[in-house]
């Protein structure tokens, strides 16, 4: 598949897939971490207020 140019085509797709997947995962992971931290802080603040 891809003939003599496979050594250039496969790395191109691999780099693109990896870079975009890692970016998506990092952004998604950051969201879940921050959401949990915000919920924890809000609960803590509510506890202090009551």
């Amino acid at each position: 598949m891809f003939g003599e140019h496979a050594a250039f085509i496969i790395p191109s797709y691999l780099i693109s897939f990896l870079a975009l997947s890692i970016a998506t995962l990092v952004i998604w992971r950051t969201y879940s971490v921050r959401k949990k931290e915000l919920a924890r802080m809000e609960a803590q603040l509510e506890k202090q207020n009551t």
Binding site: G3, H5, I9, S12, I15, L20, A23, I27, Y31, R34
Partner: protein, 252 residues
């Protein structure tokens, strides 16, 4: 402006979405739709790309075009989004414009890196070289350096609102590189080929290559907006956390 104010208020209520709380509601609804659209477009785009015929000159390396060209377009489009956000930050001093600006920069850097990396992998079999200091490639490399500089600048301040104005000004200064990239192939003799898609009246490629390319470009665009909204949502959360920490610290 305190960080708390920077999140909960804005100088203008002209746009509903400019309110960060409303934006969060909008983003929570839009992100799943955009993510589904991205997957669908990538599915169709990759199917058409891998079923495109072998190019009579380039052979199968034409497959690299379907990821290289959209990455290059997105590298420039992201900077344009950042420049519009910079205007919003300077003119209306709106915190959400700053949020948009600073969260788009890493995405722009990724697309620019991918344009350079895939371009290099395409250049070697076609031109016999991984890299040439010609106007198009050099100007895209400068764009990557600008992105990295803006990311560094956005992280150089402890208080995000203090970075907003310098970041917006530097972004607008850096916008000069976009027309240079676009017209570099017309203004100078370059190894890089001239525009072949933007001449929509007479595109220099057949529909068997043009349609997969346009669908892949739409897929990249949908991915950009998905990741941008997700990053903006993360930044709004980070500022809320920061504001709460400061409130707690003030209480002692």
């Amino acid at each position: 402006m305190t960080p708390e104010n920077a999140i909960h208020t804005g100088p203008s209520n002209l746009w509903g979405l400019a309110n960060p709380t409303r934006f969060m509601g909008f983003a929570n609804r839009a992100i799943p739709i955009l993510a589904c659209l991205t997957i669908l477009l990538f599915g169709i785009g990759l199917y058409l790309s891998f079923n495109a015929p072998e190019d009579y000159q380039q052979g199968y390396t034409v497959l690299i075009m379907f990821i290289h060209v959209p990455a290059a377009w997105l590298a420039m489009m992201t900077y344009s989004v950042m420049s519009i956000s910079a205007l919003g930050s300077i003119i209306w001093r709106h915190p959400l414009a700053d949020v948009s600006l600073r969260t788009a920069a890493p995405l722009g850097a990724i697309f620019t890196f991918l344009a350079l990396a895939t371009g290099s992998l395409w250049g070697k079999p076609m031109w016999g070289t991984w890299w040439e200091w010609d106007a198009r490639m050099t100007s895209v490399l400068i764009l990557l350096i600008i992105y990295l500089g803006l990311i560094a600048l956005s992280k150089a301040f402890d208080e995000p609102s203090e970075a907003a104005q310098p970041l917006a000004i530097m972004t607008l200064v850096g916008f000069a590189i976009i027309p240079i990239i676009k017209f570099s192939v017309d203004w100078w003799n370059t190894l890089h080929q001239p525009a072949s898609v933007s001449r929509l009246d007479t595109p220099a490629m057949g529909p068997e290559f043009l349609y997969p390319l346009l669908i892949m470009a739409l897929a990249y665009m949908a991915l950009f907006f998905t990741l941008h909204f997700m990053s903006m949502r993360n930044e709004v959360l980070a500022r809320r956390i920061r504001a709460m920490k400061m409130k707690q610290a003030r209480r002692g």
